[in-house]
């Protein structure tokens, strides 16, 4: 863990970091570092565009989208044997009637994939928010109060780590029916907080010994203000980074559970459930299998890369920010002059 190392390496990065961060707020520093992280920036743009397409194409709830089919429409004419009509023509591509193809009974795979992606996104966001809130609460209380409270909370965390998510979703499916993505997201959120709680606790254990906590206490702040008003802003990097990575995990977990038949159930669709449904037709209609998988990868990959970019931006000690060549040269020149002096 980086936190065991109070001396974050020698010269170069620190001097540079100090120069580029003078007089800026944390938010601005993080933002400028994040923008320089090419992979993370590209991922952020790709993710935004994908989410806009996913939400707008078939519409959300009562709002209609711009796409001509809905996930449940059945097109009686199977175009081109159901093959995808998406094609490159010169410099631009044409969508055709069914860009991602059609399934056995003529439903539009594009519309179904979009619907699946919406459901997966919804599960992911709900899960991410709930897991983050619970994880921060538990971690903060355990790390701040230490002693017995900490002990009890950490043992509870261990119980939650041991319980496999799949059993809980099976129970949900049996008792309430698993066609409700919101419920599914809430349940997963209530299961996946332990990792974050441990990290937040570790941060609180060191932060609570710092002078600003004593200062706040002398000024008359109560425990809640110290915990969430004073310490949390200092631990926000860990929280944001891990909440992001948690969402990437959630995308894959949701897909895996639905694939095994313990997640989202028909008639509702999710990306994993689509793959499960179309698995057997791989040899005859491979596109049924391609597109949902492609969107899972897009979501997981872009969110993972954004999380990595955020980690670099919040924690310059890791120094993984891709530098431009000039930046590198500058650093070398600086070290050389320092050595020469």
């Amino acid at each position: 863990m980086t936190s065991t190392n109070p001396n974050p390496g020698p010269g170069v990065a620190l001097t540079l970091a100090a120069n580029e961060t003078q007089g800026l707020s944390l938010g601005k520093i993080v933002w400028s570092r994040f923008v320089r992280h090419k992979a993370a920036m590209i991922s952020a743009i790709v993710l935004t565009v994908t989410v806009i397409v996913v939400l707008s194409s078939i519409g959300v709830g009562p709002i209609p989208g711009w796409w001509m089919w809905t996930p449940t429409d059945i097109d009686p004419t199977i175009v081109n044997g159901g093959k995808p009509t998406l094609a490159w023509e010169g410099l631009w591509f044409t969508l055709g009637d069914h860009p991602f193809g059609q399934d056995q009974i003529g439903r539009d795979v594009f519309a179904r994939t979009m619907r699946g992606a919406q459901v997966s996104l919804m599960v992911m966001v709900i899960m991410g928010i709930i897991a983050t809130v619970v994880g921060v609460l538990v971690g903060a209380i355990a790390g701040f109060y230490r002693g017995r409270t900490d002990n009890v909370l950490m043992r509870i965390t261990e119980v939650f780590i041991a319980i496999p998510a799949i059993v809980v979703t099976a129970v949900i499916g049996n008792k309430f029916g698993a066609d409700n993505p919101a419920l599914f997201g809430i349940v997963l959120g209530l299961l996946l907080w332990p990792g974050l709680a441990r990290l937040v606790r570790a941060d609180y254990l060191t932060l609570r010994e710092r002078e600003f906590v004593d200062a706040a206490r002398v000024a008359g702040a109560n425990d809640r203000t110290i915990m969430f008003g004073h310490i949390l802003p200092n631990a926000i990097g860990v929280v944001i980074v891990n909440a992001t990575l948690l969402m990437a995990t959630a995308t894959i977990l949701e897909a895996a559970l639905s694939f095994l038949g313990f997640g989202i159930q028909p008639p509702n669709v999710s990306l994993g459930q689509l793959i499960n449904e179309y698995q057997t037709s791989f040899s005859t209609r491979p596109w049924l299998f391609w597109w949902p998988g492609f969107f899972i990868i897009v979501f997981a990959l872009t969110i993972n890369l954004i999380g990595d970019g955020l980690r670099d931006a919040f924690d310059p000690r890791q120094r993984r920010i891709p530098k431009t060549k000039e930046f590198k040269k500058q650093a070398v020149a600086k070290v050389e002059t320092e050595v020469a002096e």
């Binding site: 863990m1 980086t2 065991t4 190392n5 001396n7 390496g9 020698p10 992979a39 002990n151 043992r155 261990e158 119980v159 780590i161 041991a162 319980i163 496999p164 799949i166 059993v167 809980v168 099976a170 129970v171 049996n174 008792k175 990437a248 894959i252 897909a255 895996a256 694939f259 095994l260 038949g261 313990f262 994993g272 793959i275 698995q279 791989f282 040899s283 299998f289 998988g293 899972i296 990868i297 997981a300 990959l301 993972n304 890369l305 990595d308 890791q318 120094r319 993984r320 891709p322 530098k323 590198k328």
Partner: protein
């Protein structure tokens, strides 16, 4: 320390109780174990329902039913599968054997590969190789495992089997493979452009050439190594091992390794006979014999550093045995593919062995289980490789920036010593504390991989039991995996304290 461990053990028992209780309640509510009976049209349906209800105590509320299970479990009775009447203990035991075989192999491979790639990537930070590896690990990390598994099954198996039916690599593919190999090796080497181009070029041409020869001579239908190739491989291994462990300047270690290679090659013809009679335990005994011989050679060379020579000799000895073993295994390949059960399509997609081939000798069954394992293992390695690479790279970067590494360099230590002794060993600490947890999780099986490839391991046992609400089986599974997970956590904590003396235990 002892107090710390005892206390952790005691709380672990408490945690285990709470977790099993919670799990039991959940499992009991996951469905209806009487479903198949309710739907059946047998005349004695009501009787059957009554029997099963009595057997599983279904008339008792789950919150209390747990204690029926606990009372039996404390006496060592985990109950039976209600459908087959099989003992849960034997079911879990069998499944665990299968899982260890599959996931154990894959984990070891993933750890070794991940550590290796992570180190190279860290040492070449911000190079093209590093960026390539980083991008690749993120991609692998984001791949859904079931998707990879289905793809491997459809393309890996069918494609490779088609290839084996007519194993000729077209020249175009040879050139492409050679070029890719050359670029990867050139990028991984680092240093001056000239050197990288040269070695990359050599590697590329060699790869393409060797593959071309293999393709032309029909190696893929009747593979083998032969004494010459074993000698070449042995020499390569000897130099690499000596370079990494002691440096080539240590002549005694180098001579030890070379002697061991000579001994290994000399053993080629006698071993051809010996292998016919070895299998299972005898194979492991022979392996230990080779390692012992290597150590012996090292000690015979003597000198102050005889322990270092012995270590290098032992490692090379192990490798030599592996090559001999592999060579003999390959010689059986043609027999295997031509058996009627396999019929020229060796890469299997489902199950863990070909039933018709059971009892046809050590070598054939070994090949058989390899051909069944190759796809699930590739899927598992692809998925778990990424996190080890990431961890190792991060940890290595952190260590290489520390003061003592700079001190070592300032003292004039050779780069090999700095990387291997000061860097690598310390960078392994965080990984070493991860491994007990990963190994513990390993016993839980790879649910998705086992399901897709029809492998009867722990993961599959669990999913099947969950589908039929087989609470006894589920509890048996959870008890084993839960205990292992808690032990893994404790070992990880203890290991951390032992490996890093800066951390003290509060007890």
């Amino acid at each position: 320390m002892l107090r710390f461990i005892t206390r952790r053990m005691l709380t672990a028992v408490g945690v285990l109780f709470a977790a099993t209780y919670l799990f039991f309640i959940l499992a009991a509510n996951a469905g209806d174990p009487l479903e198949d009976l309710r739907a059946s049209s047998q005349p004695n349906r009501d009787e059957l329902i009554a029997t099963r209800t009595a057997e599983l105590h279904l008339d008792v509320n789950p919150f209390i039913r747990y204690f029926y299970w606990l009372a039996a479990a404390l006496q060592g009775d985990l109950g039976q599968d209600y459908r087959t009447g099989q003992d849960v203990t034997t079911m879990v035991g069998d499944a665990m054997g299968q899982t260890i075989k599959l996931v154990g192999f894959a984990s070891v491979a993933a750890i070794v590969l991940g550590v290796l790639i992570g180190i190279i990537s860290a040492l070449r930070q911000y190079s093209g190789f590093d960026y390539g590896i980083t991008l690749m690990t993120f991609l692998l990390y984001s791949l859904p495992s079931f998707w990879v598994a289905v793809l491997l099954k459809q393309w890996g198996a069918i494609g490779f089997n088609d290839f084996l039916a007519d194993p000729v690599i077209p020249p175009i593919s040879l050139i492409i493979i050679g070029a890719v190999m050359g670029i990867v090796i050139g990028a991984a080497l680092g240093g001056e452009w000239k050197r990288r181009l040269m070695f990359g070029g050599i590697a590329g041409v060699l790869t393409a050439g060797i593959l071309g020869i293999m393709s032309a001579t029909g190696w893929f239908t009747d593979p083998g190594l032969g004494p010459v190739v074993i000698l070449a491989l042995g020499l390569g291994v000897a130099f690499v091992i000596v370079f990494l462990t002691t440096g080539l300047n240590n002549r005694k270690a180098l001579y030890t390794a070379l002697t061991v290679v000579a001994v290994g090659v000399a053993a080629y013809f006698p071993m051809q006979q010996a292998f016919l009679y070895t299998g299972g335990p005898a194979a492991i005994a022979t392996l230990l014999g080779f390692i012992a011989a290597g150590i012996g050679v090292g000690l015979l060379f003597g000198g102050q550093d005889r322990k270092l020579s012995a270590r290098a000799g032992g490692i090379v000895g192990g490798f030599m045995y592996a090559f001999l073993w592999l060579d003999f295994l390959m010689s059986q390949w043609e027999t295997y593919t031509n058996t009627s059960a396999v019929n020229g399509r060796p890469i299997a997609t489902v199950g863990s062995s070909t039933p018709e081939l059971s009892g046809s000798g050590y070598w054939i069954t070994t090949i058989d289980s390899f051909t069944h394992m190759v796809l699930p293992i590739s899927a598992l390695i692809l998925i778990s490789l990424a996190s080890y690479t990431r961890y190792m790279r991060g940890s290595m970067l952190e260590v290489m920036n520390l003061d003592y590494v700079r001190t070592a360099r300032a003292k004039g230590m050779p780069e090999r010593t700095v990387v291997m002794r000061h860097g690598f060993r310390n960078a392994l600490i965080p990984i070493a504390t991860l491994i007990p947890l990963d190994l513990a999780a390993l016993f839980g099986g790879a649910i998705i991989t086992e399901t897709v490839f029809g492998w009867n391991g722990m993961g599959r046992l669990f999913v099947d039991a969950l589908k039929t609400v087989n609470v006894n089986v589920l509890m048996g599974y959870f008890l084993v995996t839960g205990i292992l997970l808690l032990i893994g956590t404790i070992i990880a904590d203890v290991l951390y304290v032992i490996l890093d003396p800066r951390i003290r235990v509060e007890s």
